[in-house]
């Protein structure tokens, strides 16, 4: 009985006193990884987990800039050949030395993972040949000029050749194959529940502070916040924006916030040529014969009607940055002269009248309600704003499952989406979101609106054939100016990521959204 009381008292104090835990850390993640196999699924939660155990040739820093990882340096030898100098003295957790053989083995395995729902081969397919010059030098041949190889390889985790032919995904989950060069070993993995990590003594780099790390999957927002407040979790990711304001004032908790690479935007249907789009009718509900969204003035009007600072302040509660382009300042391809479009309802109305809609029209704005931060609230708020310029807006938010299937079939007229710019530079969204839909090339893959602009396409192609980083960035900037002048899509904001941790800890906010125990440090 006394023991019980002592336990209760101790727990009560744990919030106030914050004893230094014996170098163990419990992290609460917002989404469950689908596997511990580093090549199974291109999915941020997976990367976040396996990055503790495995490493990549090219690493990225907190701002998604490339830094040396298992490769100390890399350079282009000719237009189609990259040479990587590998780090010496690196040992896998099973004692094997890391060599070029492992790189070749990894690149060979990536496209052959069985039943992979999202193959990492998108990051390796540019490589057509591997040449092992010596144990610490590898040359990779690409098909044609491919300037983004190092960005791509920053996604590919290296596994040891000793795993043998065709290592099974299940064996990674069971821990048997979970052998990397990273700072932590995976001692247990329970899908959808937790993973246990223990420090790897032979790690080549800076030893992390924590000896033991428990990674818990807590997808429920409130539960994650409550877990932090009650002291069950030392560190959580994706602090709900609703709680952030309150937590900022809580002394027992410390928040870290930073720009992400997640670009939130509205897509406007252009897939039906001159014909009408399904969810727009005249101001009195009459059927239209054309798609008003084909008119640049209408698209601009819809963009100018949106009060982005209000969205950021009221809906996102400060956890976003209003934007007029894909990326936040400081990224490759950021265009300084593309500020967020101003809030100008008067001009929006005038533009609508000019385009032949003096009484506006009716539109249904679709969006998911369980996918992005505050997604359903954003579409409602935009519904309010559009209604004020005479565009009578009906809002329909649905689960992602239904939403994405319908969006992929071009069923909507205007809809909310977000895009995580995994490479951290502007060619990625240009290729994926606004380049003409081209299944063969793999470009325009998520250009669900089927926007098509030959000038943009030409600039994107030009950028991808420009090996020089500085020149390529200029082309990318030019392409973005075209895209946003034409209102190919309506940019809204760039999400900020918020991490919450108990007071006394720090974390450098990462643009790639990953939560990595090695960078959670006690404050000095």
């Amino acid at each position: 009985m006394r023991g019980w009381q002592a336990a209760v008292a101790g727990l009560g104090f744990s919030l106030a006193a914050l004893p230094v835990h014996a170098q163990s850390l419990t992290m609460g993640l917002s989404a469950a990884p689908t596997s511990a196999d580093p090549h199974y699924h291109t999915f941020t939660p997976n990367n976040s987990l396996v990055a503790h155990v495995f490493e990549t040739l090219v690493d990225t820093d907190a701002h998604a800039r490339l830094i040396p990882g298992l490769a100390e340096s890399w350079k282009l030898i000719d237009d189609e050949t990259w040479e990587f100098k590998l780090r010496k003295g690196v040992k896998f957790q099973n004692g094997d030395a890391f060599t070029g053989e492992d790189v070749a083995y990894t690149l060979d395995r990536v496209p052959r993972v069985l039943n992979s729902p999202g193959s990492f081969s998108v990051y390796t397919k540019a490589v057509v040949g591997v040449e092992i010059v010596d144990p610490t030098t590898v040359r990779l041949k690409t098909r044609g000029i491919y300037p983004l190889l190092s960005n791509d390889l920053a996604q590919v985790f290296i596994i040891p050749k000793s795993l043998g032919p065709n290592p099974a995904t299940e064996d990674f989950n069971s821990g048997k194959n979970a052998v990397g060069t990273g700072p932590y070993r995976m001692t247990a993995y329970r899908p959808g529940d937790r993973a246990e990590l223990a420090l790897y003594d032979g790690y080549w780099g800076t030893k992390p502070h924590w000896k033991n790390v428990t990674v818990r999957m807590v997808p429920n927002d409130a539960a994650r916040t409550a877990g932090l407040l009650s002291g069950d979790l030392d560190f959580i990711e994706f602090v709900p924006t609703a709680d952030a304001t309150k937590l900022r004032g809580n002394k027992a908790v410390h928040l870290e916030e930073g720009d992400s690479l997640r670009f939130v935007y509205l897509m406007l249907d252009r897939s039906r040529g001159a014909g009408p789009t399904p969810f727009i009718t005249g101001p009195n509900g009459e059927t239209l014969t054309t798609n008003p969204l084909n008119d640049q003035r209408v698209r601009l009007a819809l963009s100018l009607a949106i009060n982005r600072p209000a969205l950021v302040e009221r809906v996102m509660e400060g956890a976003a940055r209003a934007t007029g382009q894909f990326l936040a300042p400081g990224s490759v391809g950021y265009t300084p002269d593309l500020p967020p479009p101003p809030y100008d309802p008067a001009k929006a109305k005038a533009l609508l009248a000019e385009a032949g809609f003096p009484n506006g029209f009716r539109i249904t704005l679709h969006g998911p309600n369980d996918r992005y931060v505050n997604d359903a609230k954003i579409v409602q708020a935009i519904g309010q704003m559009w209604s004020r310029i005479g565009v009578q807006t009906n809002v329909d938010a649905m689960t992602w499952t239904t939403f994405v299937s319908r969006a992929n079939k071009q069923e909507f007229s205007a809809y909310l989406l977000a895009w995580g710019i995994s490479s951290g530079e502007a060619s990625n969204p240009l290729r994926s979101l606004v380049h003409t839909y081209d299944p063969k090339l793999g470009w325009g893959a998520v250009n669900r609106a089927r926007y098509s602009n030959p000038e943009v396409d030409a600039l994107v192609a030009k950028a991808m054939a420009t090996a020089d980083d500085g020149k390529r960035e200029q082309v990318l900037i030019e392409a973005q100016r075209k895209v946003f002048a034409d209102v190919a899509l309506i940019p809204l904001h760039i999400q900020k990521n918020i991490w919450g941790m108990r007071a006394g800890l720090t974390y450098e906010p990462r643009a790639d959204e990953e939560s990595l125990a090695m960078f959670v440090k006690p404050a000095k």
Partner: protein, 300 residues
């Protein structure tokens, strides 16, 4: 009116006796009054609510999350505060009551009628009718309510009508099973045998004689089902599959406020929660008393 009414001894009709018995409990009368008031509020919401919370053009996010008693930018007072969209909570609750009450009562009543009738028929008719009905019941009960509703709404999409349909499909089998269980016992009682000996029509035995005796468990279940239907609707809305976000029910209002509980903006889910609680408790008080009154064996 007339001289013969002077002694004020009214003929005892079943309905009068019912009213008399019902009025025995003051709490139940209060419950009934509350139910009537809530029903009126819900019916008259469009005329008494300060704002139409379903019209996006009337909302302004700049008025979002205001505490109770705050003034809007347009000078209106939000007595119960606003939600994240700047929706007046009082108006939202009045409109939400319409939906929650409609969905809850409507689905429970439809499911109750369908389910009980089928259950009684199964117990009384036996044979292939019973087999078919009870296998359907088994099939239905083999699927957990919440999952069936989830699946149905996933196929059909959101909407008040779809939610009701899902709730009816989910709940009818419970009534059927309970009605049958009670009727199986009733069927062997003497009065049924007596009625059968008198060669009364089967439907008459079933619905006039057996049904009243099977009612107590059905009313207990039914009472709970109204509450459960409203809760289930709230849960479905919580999971993003209930009513549309632009036309929130009480459940969805609570779900919307759920994420603000930890940040101290209690009113967004607190007041709809209270409204929900009062509604359900009032319905249950009425149901409780109905059960006591309608149970012939307690009538002594």
């Amino acid at each position: 009116m007339s001289a013969t009414a002077l002694p004020k001894i009214r003929e005892e009709t079943p309905f009068r006796r019912f009213l008399h018995d019902y009025a025995q409990s003051k709490l139940a009368v209060l419950g009934l009054v509350v139910v009537i008031v809530i029903a009126l509020l819900a019916l008259l919401a469009p005329w008494i609510a300060p704002q139409n919370p379903y019209d996006l053009a009337q909302l302004d996010i700049m008025d979002g999350r205001l505490p109770p008693g705050a003034q809007s930018m347009g000078g209106m007072t939000y007595w119960l505060g606003t939600d994240d969209q700047g929706r007046d909570m009082l108006s939202g609750i009045l409109y939400g009551l319409r939906i929650s009450l409609g969905v809850g009562l409507g689905s429970a009543i439809i499911a109750g009628i369908v389910g009980s009738a089928l259950g009684l028929i199964a117990a009384y008719a036996g044979g292939w009718a019973e087999t078919v009905i009870m296998r359907l019941v088994d099939l239905q009960l083999s699927f957990p309510a919440i999952l069936v509703a989830l699946m149905i709404l996933a196929f059909l999409g959101k909407g008040v009508g779809n939610v009701m349909l899902a709730l009816v499909i989910v709940e009818w089998a419970r009534y059927a099973r309970t009605a049958r269980a009670a009727a199986l016992v009733e069927r062997r009682r003497e009065y049924v045998e007596a009625a059968e000996c008198l060669a009364l029509p089967r439907w008459r035995v079933l619905f006039r004689h057996m049904l009243p005796n099977c009612l107590p468990p059905l009313i207990v279940i039914g009472t709970i089902q109204v509450a459960r239907a409203i809760t289930l609707e709230a849960t479905l809305s919580f999971l993003g599959l209930g009513v549309p976000i632009t036309e929130p029910s009480l459940g969805l209002l609570i779900a919307n406020g759920y994420q603000y509980m930890l940040s101290g903006k209690y009113w967004i889910s607190f007041y709809p929660g209270i409204a929900l609680l009062v509604t359900i408790m009032a319905i249950n008080l009425v149901g409780d008393q109905l059960r006591d009154v309608l149970n012939p064996r307690l009538r002594r």
